[in-house]
Amino acid sequence: MKKLFFMVFLIFSISAFAADTIKIGAIFDFTGGTADVGKPYAEGVKDCVRWFNEKGGINGKKIELFDVDYSYKVPNALAAYKDFKMKGVVAIHGWGTADTEALTKFVAQDKIPYLSASYSEHLADGKKTPYNFFVGASYSDQTEAALQFIKDNKGKTVAFIYNDTGFGRSPFFPDGENAAKKLGIQLVDKQVVDLKALDATAQMLNLKKSGAEYAIVQETYMATSTILKDAKKNGLTTKFIGLNWTFDRPLIKLAGDAANGFYGVSPFAFWSDTDVEGIKFLRELNKKYHPDVHEREINYIQGFSSMYVLLSAIKNVKGPITGESIKHSLESMRDFSTMGLTPPVTFTPDIHKGVRAARIYQIQNGQIKPVSKVITLQ
């Protein structure tokens, strides 16, 4: 046992010798339950760091990224966090619900800004969770955008489909319910479909009975595909609108024809939106960095834009770079442009969700097409 400790010490002492760099921690999921979307996300984050470093770093300092695969397991995230803290990171880029929730209190205590892709509304309050940020529209806001879209299309009834996890329920209870009431859309049904469900016939038949015109879906690709296929099989006329994790090319691959007509809410631009400046740039960047990669998932764009915002905030820090100064720099961002990858990003000391706008897309003949303007929420 002593030997083990000695080795641990040794490894630390090696890693402690590093030049003057900006240290950032990253917690990713390459192998856990969310690996299919976690991996492209991580690649986006890494590419962004690489690009910044090749441009000469931030004010002459290189960025040192410590990345850890935590397999979506909380103890791994905790261990990684303690390790980061010891290495003296000034900010952390996290991943999903599991790590973000587990670390919220610690990062507030240790004053380390924590960006992640968990767009849960309760992480957006700067007073309650002072060091959590996310670059994206919260699930609740995405739901509101979807409801707005339903209203614009003269829809009167809606159903919610979700899974029984924090991730699944976050958009709807209570925010989604309230938003529906406010907009005068009647909530007629709620269905739970497990994230790994292979069959949703019972749920779809219940949904059919309820007669909902629209259904908002908060799932991941697999369950969404099950829902769409079983809806088609049972002849539902309901129109489905998915939030950001349901909607991209992998879904088209999974669901095939059943994906046609599916709507998606996305605060991010898609790889196919070639008129967006940021996408053009990313396409060039990928030609250089990964000549064999021709298409990127939305998660890559998410990761890249999120890291882009963090690094730009660090760049704007005046004086010494600490967790606190980065927080202030982030909170003073107003309408920051992410080259169009997302709508302009604004953080305030109270509001830590960067984006309050989203666009509705639709899958038409296997292609992702925007079908609405950018819907901005108040």
């Binding site: 080795m7 192998t31 599991a98 929730e101 209190k105 996890t165 329920r169």
Partner: protein, 350 residues
């Protein structure tokens, strides 16, 4: 397998069952325990984190070993029982504002009761069927964690405040070290002692041959339930400490993976050995961390390793378990005894 020094004769059963076989072992254990108290003054927060995890997990591992190693009842629901302890802690601390010295025993008791309830099928079930019934307990409890929102906070989880003792808030790794360390010592000592009593012997008799045990007047069902109770009590204490340590609990912490991890701890450490449970815990907590640092080092030389290493790490888990089962089925505890025996006779071992 007992290796005893020459001339160390046991003249009574009490001596045979003593924890400290010799004065020397007594002194060395005590001095080790005291030395451990000095560690936090020299270690950084990462090392302290690892040690704290070892303390917390070893409590739960000892509990599982009482059930699985000593009584022979395989539980695939230990992770969920730890969860019961954690949520009970959160609920009691949040709603009644109780201090930890009430919360931890109460939470552990609640867990023990739940454990006994899910132990009831052991009245009729044996072996495999029983272990699968505990698997069901795992899934049912997970469902309850999610749905019993008024108790557990549901999917959003619940925050837990730092424990305070004499007005001192235990709010960092340094302070928590002493907190967890004392709990670990108390719980492990109690565990070791329970097993030396009538109860412990009854457990072992149920494991080794329950028909013979029954014939000799051991009330099998009572002891099986008791074993479930004690084991869950330990899980409850561990869950409680975990809740106090991580400050935030959600149902996602207490999945089947956790249950399996504890099983591997006691397998690797040695079934039916308290010391083995501790060894197993140390091994399973440190292994992934060591692997991670190894990759960080190696990735400088071979960056592609970093791409596939996460998967290799999981494979490593599997390989370690398999290798232990194939080549060291009695676990690290046996190895430890062999090493001790070797050094006792050194340099004249033959």
């Amino acid at each position: 397998m007992n290796y005893v020094n020459c001339g160390n004769f046991k003249t009574s059963y009490a001596k045979d069952a003593a924890i400290y076989k010799t004065v020397f072992s007594k002194i060395s254990i005590y001095s080790f325990l005291i030395l451990m108290l000095l560690v936090p003054f020299y270690a950084n927060s990462y090392i302290l984190y690892i040690l704290n995890m070892i303390f917390i997990s070893s409590i739960a591992a000892v509990g599982l070993n009482i059930l699985t190693g000593f009584t022979g009842l395989i539980s695939l629901g230990h992770g969920a029982f730890i969860g019961v302890g954690a949520f009970a802690t959160g609920y009691l601390a949040l709603n009644y504002g109780m201090n930890f010295y009430f919360v931890i025993p109460l939470a552990a008791l609640i867990t023990a009761i739940i454990g006994i309830i899910f132990g009831l099928p052991s009245l009729r079930l044996k072996d495999l069927y029983l272990s699968i019934a505990t698997l069901a307990a795992q899934f049912i409890l997970e469902f309850i964690f999610i749905r019993a929102e008024s108790f557990t906070g549901g999917v959003n989880g619940m925050p837990v405040a730092y424990p305070t003792i004499f007005g001192i808030e235990i709010n960092n790794d340094f302070r928590f070290y002493f907190f967890a360390y004392s709990f670990a010592i108390v719980m492990i000592t109690i565990g070791k002692n329970i097993l030396r009593t009538k109860i412990g012997r009854a457990f072992i008799s149920v494991r080794d041959n329950y028909i013979a045990a029954e014939a000799m007047g051991v009330d099998i069902f009572k002891y099986k339930l008791l074993s479930f109770g004690i084991s869950s009590f330990y899980a409850g204490v561990a869950g409680s400490l975990w809740a106090y340590y991580v400050q935030f609990i959600t149902p996602e912490h207490f999945t089947i993976t956790v249950s399996i991890q504890y099983l591997s701890m006691i397998i690797i450490g040695g079934l039916g050995s308290v010391l083995g449970s501790i060894f197993g815990t140390i091994f399973m907590v440190i292994l992934p961390e060591m692997l991670r640092h190894l990759v960080d080092l190696l990735s400088g030389v071979a960056p592609f390793l970093k791409q596939i290493f996460p998967a290799i790490r999981e494979a490593f888990y599997g390989i370690v378990i398999i290798l232990f089962l194939l080549f060291e089925p009695e676990g690290l505890a046996r190895r430890w005894n062999l090493i001790k025996a070797y050094w006792k006779l050194w340099p004249f071992s033959y």
